[in-house]
C-alpha cells in the first residue's frame, strides 16, 4: 500500500486520511482483530480532530474497499454514539 502523489508530489487529503487509518490498523493488527479495532478507534478519537474523524467516516462510506477491515470496523465504532 503506497501513497499516491499527484504530479505536484502532493497527495489528496482523502487519500492521506485513508492511508493514516490503514497504517494505524496495520500497526495494531498484532493485538488481534477485536482488540485492535478498539485500539484503533481510541487512537483516532484521541488524536484526530473532529473534522478529520467526520471526513474518514464519509470516506468509509464512499470508498468501502479502501480501508482495511480493522480500520473500517474502528471507524464504524467511532460513528456509534
Amino acid at each position: 500500500m503506497t501513497i499516491a502523489h499527484d504530479e505536484d508530489g502532493v497527495m489528496s487529503t482523502g487519500d492521506r486520511l485513508i492511508y493514516m487509518a490503514n497504517q494505524i490498523a496495520r500497526n495494531m493488527a498484532s493485538e488481534g482483530r477485536e482488540r485492535a479495532e478498539v485500539m484503533v478507534a481510541d487512537h483516532i478519537r484521541s488524536f484526530w480532530d473532529p473534522a478529520m474523524r467526520a471526513r474518514i467516516g464519509q470516506l468509509a462510506a464512499e470508498r468501502p474497499g479502501a480501508l482495511l477491515p480493522i480500520a473500517a470496523a474502528a471507524i464504524a465504532r467511532i460513528a456509534q454514539p
Binding site: T2, G9, V10, T13, D49, P50, M52
Partner: protein, 948 residues
C-alpha cells in the same frame, strides 16, 4: 553579576570512597574525602597554592613544578597536585625554600615569554601573569639574548581563536583538555625539551586539523597562547551573566561574559549540571547571528505574498494580525486558524502561544516542531512508562557499563554529551551502535564499539525485536523486576510474540542486513553486561514506525531491569534546545501542559477557571493536517513562532501548497526564513541573549535564560505574543516571564515547585519538581512507573511503504553535522560555514562508481516527491545502497526529496527513509533556480519613505 573568575581548585574532586582524611595544612586541621589532592584540599580551605599546569577539570599532571609543598617527615618537595592527602599529614604551602624554588621555576618560564603584558589581549586575565605576581618574581637573570621560542608565526586559521606559540608555556593543559574533556585527541606536544611545541593533528593549521573547535583548549590555556579572536578585538569582559545555550537539547549553561552590552565571549559554566564546564563549537562560538545584518528588526506586513514587504509600526502590525485572525474566524469558522510554537523559544513563550490559541482562537489547533522530531518519544514513553520524557540525567552515563546508541550521532548532534559518553567509554564501558552509518563513535581515538549493527534504514523494529527474542529465548530477562514493576500478563504476551521463530536474528537478517551472530552478541551484552543504558535520537523517531521503535526500546529496558536507577534507562537525545519544554508546555493539539489530554474534564476545568473561558474538549490539528486543511480551503490562518516549516518539514511542495492557500500567515522569527516567503505578517523576534525565561533540556532540566542585552527588535518574544493576545482582547498583564512560570506551576502538577527563586538558588530543577519531589527528579521510575505498572507493548514490524525499486534503487537518510544546527538559520550566519559551506551527498564508492560519480561532482537526487542537486562526497561511512545528506542549507532543500510518509501514531515524518536515484548533473536543478528566484522576490522590502 560583576566579573569574577570561577574558582579553580586545581584538581578534580576525589572519587568517593566514603572515607575521610584529617590532615593539617599551614597549621589548620582539615578533614576531606580520601583521594583529594593536597592542592585541592588547600584550595577548599582558602589557600591558593601557585599553579600553572593544574586545572580542576583535568587530571593532575605534575609538570609545571610551581605547586611544590613541604610535607613534614617526607623528603623533597612534592607537587601538591599529584600528591593525595594522607591521615595525620602536616603540609606547609609557603616556606622560604618553597618561595625560592617557585621563583626559580617562574623565572625560567618568563625567560622564554614575551614581556608585552600591557598590550597582550589577556592582560588582566592571564594566569601566568597572576602566578608571577603570586610567587613574587621581580627579576629574570638570564636575559633575552639566548635562544627563545618567541617570534613564531601565529596560527589564525580558526575563525574563532588564535594560536600564538610564542606565548605558549607548554603546560599541556590544552592537549589534556582535548584528550580528557573533549575526547578528540587533536592536539599533541611535538618535539622535545626546549623544542617542544603544541601541534594540531600532524602539525596542521587548526582549521584543517582534526580540531572540532569546542573551545576546551582555549578555556584551559593559562596564557594568551590560545585566545578568542573576539577578546583580541574587544578586550577583556567586565561582567558575566549565567545563561543557557539556545542550540541543542543538551542545554549547556554558559557565562555570557560582557563588556557593557557587547558580548565578548561565552564560557561554559563549570557549575552547569548538564555540561559540567564543557561546550561545543556552536554554543561556545557561533552566537554572532544575534547581531547579523540579516536580522529583521521592524515589523512588516503585506496583503499578498507576491507584494514586497512594507515596514510598519508595532501597533499596526499587531492590530493587522489580530484583525486578520478575527476576520478569518468570522468568515471561515472558529477552527480555521491555528499556530505553531517554537522549540527554540522559552517555556514561557511557548506556553503563551498555546494559551493564545486555546484561549483566544478558541480551538486546539496548536502544534510544535517536536511533531517532526520526537513526537514518537512522547507517545512511546507515555504509553509504556507513563511519562513523555527520558528517564535519566546526563551524569547517569558515568555509571553505565553498557551503552547502546541507536539512531543517534551524539558527537555531531549532541557533542557535549557525546564527550561525556566517550569519557565513560574510555573508562571501560562497552558500546553497541545500531546505525546504518559508521558514525564517529563506532571507531575514534580510544573509543571503539564492541558491536556495530549497520542495519538497513527502516528496520529498527525488526532488529530490536530480534534482540528481545534473544533476551527472552535465552532467559536473560530480569523476572524479579518484571514481576514487581510491570504487568506480568502483558510481559507474557510480549514474550510469546518476540519468541516466535519469525522474529529471531536469523529470520530477520534478510530485512535488516545484520549478521545474526552480531545481533545475538549485542543482545547478550545489553542484557548481562551490568548497568545498560539506551541513548537514541531521530534515527529512531523519524520513521513510519518511530513510536513502535520507542516502545521496542522501552520493552528491552523493562525486560532486562534497566530502568529506575543511575547508569541505566531510556534516554532520548532531544534535538532542539527547548523541544522537551515545548512538549511539556502543552504544544500538542491533544494535550495541555503536563501531558493531560484536552478531553480530561478535570484538567480542562483547571485551565478554564484560570483563563476564564470555555475550552475545546476535542483535539486540534497537527501541522500536516493543518496544511491539508489549508489546501482543502478550510484552514486559512497560521501563527508561527520560531519555526521554519518550509525548510524543516517533509515534502516541501506539500508545505508550500498549504501555506500558499492561507490568507494570513504570521511568522515571528529573527530572519526572513523560507516560510516567511509565504507570510503576510513578519514580527521580528528576539534572541536568547535578549530575554529572560527558561529552557528544559533532554534530561528534563529546567534552566534559566537570562537577558544580557536589550532586544534589538524592541521586544522579547513573550512580550510580542502578549501584544497579539491583548489585541485579540485577552487582557494579559504579565510584567516578567517569572509570572508566566508561576502560572505554569499553578496549572501543571509536575511543575508546582518550579519558580524563578528556586531556579536561581538551585541552578536548575529536573521535573517533576513538586511536593512529592521538592528537589526535582534526576532519575525517574525509581520505585515504580509513573503509570503504575510498566506496560509491554507488542511491536510488530510493519515495513515502510517507501520501497526501493528500479527507478529509485538507493535509500536516502538525513541528519546533522557538528558545525550546523537544524535548518542552519543561525549557524549559516556565523563563521561555522568554514567547516560546512554546503550540504553534500554522502555516497558509497561502489554506488558512485556505478554512476560515474567522482568526488565533488554535482549530482541530481531524485525521489517520488521531488528532485534537487548537490555535490557528492564519496565515503565508506555509508553502506552500499544508502546515501546521506544534511538539511542545513536552503539552496539544497533536502526536504524537496523527502516524502509524506510518517509515523503511524504521531505523523512524525519518515525523514530517515526515502527511496532515491542519484545521477550526474550539470548544476542546480530548474526547481532550485526557480525557488531561488521566488525567494528573492518574496524578500523584497519597500524602502521606507522619508518623513515630510
Amino acid at each position: 553579576m560583576g566579573f569574577t573568575r570561577e574558582t579553580d581548585h586545581g584538581t578534580p574532586p576525589a572519587i568517593a570512597t566514603g572515607r575521610n582524611i584529617t590532615l593539617t595544612i599551614d597549621g589548620e586541621s582539615v578533614t576531606l574525602p580520601e583521594g583529594t589532592s593536597i592542592m585541592r584540599a588547600a584550595s577548599l580551605t582558602g589557600t591558593a597554592i601557585p599553579k600553572l599546569c593544574a586545572s580542576d577539570n583535568l587530571e593532575s599532571f605534575g609538570s609545571c613544578r610551581l605547586c611544590l609543598v613541604e610535607v613534614e617527615g617526607r623528603a623533597g618537595y612534592p607537587a601538591s597536585c599529584t600528591t593525595p592527602i594522607a591521615e595525620g599529614m602536616t603540609v606547609h604551602t609557603q616556606t622560604d625554600r618553597l618561595k625560592q624554588l617557585r621563583r626559580g621555576v617562574m623565572e625560567l618560564y618568563i625567560s622564554d615569554h614575551p614581556l608585552d603584558c600591557l598590550t597582550c589581549a589577556a592582560n588582566g586575565d592571564c594566569e601566568l601573569q597572576d602566578q608571577a605576581g603570586a610567587v613574587g618574581l621581580r627579576d629574570v637573570r638570564y636575559g633575552y639574548d639566548g635562544a627563545t621560542n618567541m617570534g613564531q608565526p601565529k596560527d589564525q586559521s580558526n575563525p574563532y581563536f588564535d594560536f600564538d606559540p610564542s606565548k605558549c608555556i607548554v603546560c599541556s593543559r590544552c592537549v589534556r583538555a582535548c584528550d580528557e574533556v573533549q575526547g578528540t585527541y587533536a592536539l599533541t606536544i611535538e618535539g622535545m625539551g626546549f623544542g617542544s611545541k603544541i601541534a594540531a593533528s600532524q602539525n596542521d593549521a587548526f582549521l584543517s586539523s582534526e580540531c572540532v573547535s569546542c573551545g576546551a583548549c582555549v578555556q584551559a590555556c593559562p596564557t594568551a597562547s590560545l585566545i578568542e579572536k573576539k577578546v583580541v578585538e574587544t578586550g577583556t569582559p567586565d561582567r558575566a551573566v549565567v545563561t543557557t545555550c539556545a542550540y541543542c537539547g543538551v542545554g549547556c549553561t554558559f557565562r555570557a561574559e560582557m563588556r557593557g552590552e557587547e558580548l565578548v565571549r561565552m564560557v561554559p559554566w563549570k557549575d552547569g549540571k548538564a555540561n559540567r564546564g564543557h561546550s561545543c563549537v556552536k554554543g561556545r562560538f557561533a552566537w554572532g547571528y544575534a547581531q547579523h545584518q540579516d536580522r529583521i528588526l521592524n515589523p512588516m506586513i503585506r496583503a499578498s505574498v507576491t507584494e514586497p514587504w512594507r515596514e510598519v509600526s508595532w501597533d499596526e502590525a499587531i492590530a493587522y494580525t489580530a484583525n486578520e485572525f478575527r476576520r478569518i474566524q468570522a468568515q471561515y469558522g472558529r477552527l480555521s486558524v491555528g499556530g505553531i510554537t517554537s522549540s527554540r523559544c522559552t517555556n514561557e513563550e511557548t506556553f503563551l502561544v498555546q494559551k493564545m490559541i486555546r484561549q483566544g482562537f478558541g480551538n486546539n489547533n496548536v502544534d510544535t516542531c517536536a511533531r517532526v522530531c520526537h513526537s514518537p518519544t512522547g507517545y512511546g514513553l507515555k504509553t509504556t512508562f507513563g511519562t513523555s520524557a527520558g528517564t535519566q540525567d546526563f551524569d547517569s552515563v558515568m555509571h553505565a557499563d553498557v551503552i547502546l546508541v541507536i539512531g543517534a550521532n551524539p558527537t555531531d548532534a549532541h557533542p557535549v554529551f557525546g564527550s561525556r559518553m566517550k569519557k565513560r567509554l574510555r573508562q571501560g564501558a562497552k558500546l553497541i551502535v545500531i546505525d546504518p552509518r559508521q558514525i564517529d563513535l563506532v571507531k575514534s581515538p580510544h573509543v571503539e564499539a564492541e558491536h556495530h549493527l549497520p542495519l538497513r534504514p527502516g528496520t529498527n523494529v525488526a532488529l530490536l525485536t530480534a534482540m528481545a527474542h534473544v533476551v527472552v529465548t535465552e532467559k536473560l530477562y530480569d523476572e524479579a523486576f518484571i514481576r514487581e514493576r510491570c504487568d506480568w500478563d502483558e510481559f507474557q504476551d510480549w514474550a510469546d510474540f518476540v519468541s516466535e521463530a519469525a522474529r529471531s536474528p536469523e529470520a530477520i537478517e534478510p530485512l535488516t542486513g545484520v549478521r545474526p551472530a552480531d545481533v545475538r552478541a549485542a543482545a547478550r551484552l545489553y542484557a548481562t553486561g551490568g548497568n545498560a543504558a539506551i541513548y537514541y535520537g531521530l534515527g529512531v523517531t523519524e520513521h513510519s514506525q518511530g513510536s513502535s521503535t520507542v516502545m521496542a526500546i522501552a520493552n528491552l529496558a523493562m525486560a532486562t531491569g534497566n530502568i529506575g536507577r543511575e547508569g541505566v534507562g531510556v534516554n532520548p537525545l532531544r534535538g532542539q534546545n527547548n523541544v522537551q519544554g515545548a512538549c511539556d508546555m502543552g504544544s500538542f493539539p491533544h494535550e495541555f501542559s503536563g501531558y493531560r489530554h484536552v478531553s480530561d474534564d478535570g484538567a480542562r476545568a483547571m485551565f478554564e477557571s484560570a483563563w476564564g473561558v470555555k475550552l475545546d474538549h476535542e483535539p486540534g490539528l497537527r501541522i500536516p493536517n493543518m496544511l491539508d486543511a489549508a489546501t482543502d480551503g478550510t484552514f486559512k490562518g497560521l501563527f508561527i513562532q520560531g519555526e521554519d516549516i518550509l525548510q524543516s518539514d517533509p515534502n516541501t511542495r506539500h508545505v508550500a501548497a498549504g501555506l500558499a492557500a492561507m490568507e494570513c500567515v504570521v511568522v515571528q522569527d529573527l530572519f526572513l526564513n523560507e516560510t516567511a516567503n509565504y507570510a503576510h505578517v513578519f514580527l521580528p523576534g528576539s534572541t536568547f541573549l535578549e530575554k529572560d525565561g527558561t529552557f528544559t533540556n533532554a534530561e528534563r532540566r529546567i534552566q534559566r535564560v537570562r537577558k544580557v542585552m536589550a532586544p534589538l527588535n524592541g521586544h522579547a518574544d513573550w512580550e510580542i505574543v502578549q501584544l497579539v493576545a491583548n489585541a485579540l482582547g485577552l487582557g494579559w498583564d504579565y510584567a516578567h516571564p517569572s509570572e508566566i512560570m508561576d502560572e505554569i506551576a499553578a496549572l501543571t502538577p509536575t511543575f508546582t515547585g518550579v519558580h524563578y527563586d528556586r531556579l536561581d538558588a538551585e541552578g536548575s530543577l529536573q521535573w517533576p519538581a513538586n511536593d512529592a519531589a521538592p528537589d526535582g527528579t534526576p532519575t525517574m521510575h525509581i520505585d515504580g512507573f509513573v503509570r503504575g505498572k510498566g506496560k509491554f507493548v507488542v511491536t510488530d514490524y510493519v515495513p515502510t511503504d517507501e520501497k526501493t525499486g528500479p527507478r529509485f534503487p538507493l535509500l536516502l537518510t538525513t541528519g546533522r553535522i557538528l558545525s550546523h544546527y537544524n535548518v542552519g538559520a543561525q549557524t549559516r550566519r556565523t563563521a561555522n560555514t568554514a567547516w560546512h559551506p554546503e550540504d553534500r551527498l554522502e555516497i558509497h564508492p561502489n554506488d558512485a562508481e556505478n554512476r560515474g560519480v567522482k568526488e565533488g561532482d554535482w549530482v541530481s537526487l531524485r525521489s517520488r516527491a521531488g528532485e534537487t542537486t548537490l555535490r557528492a562526497l564519496i565515503t565508506e561511512r555509508v553502506a552500499p545502497g544508502v546515501v546521506y545528506t544534511t538539511f542545513h542549507h536552503p539552496d539544497t532543500q533536502a526536504n524537496v526529496i523527502t516524502t509524506d510518509y510518517s509515523d503511524w501514531a504521531t505523523n512524525c515524518p519518515e525523514y530517515k527513509v526515502t527511496a532515491v536515484q542519484v545521477g550526474l548533473s550539470n548544476g542546480p536543478s530548474d526547481w532550485q533556480e526557480d525557488y531561488a528566484d521566488h525567494a528573492r522576490q518574496s524578500r523584497r522590502i519597500l524602502p521606507v519613505e522619508a518623513a515630510e
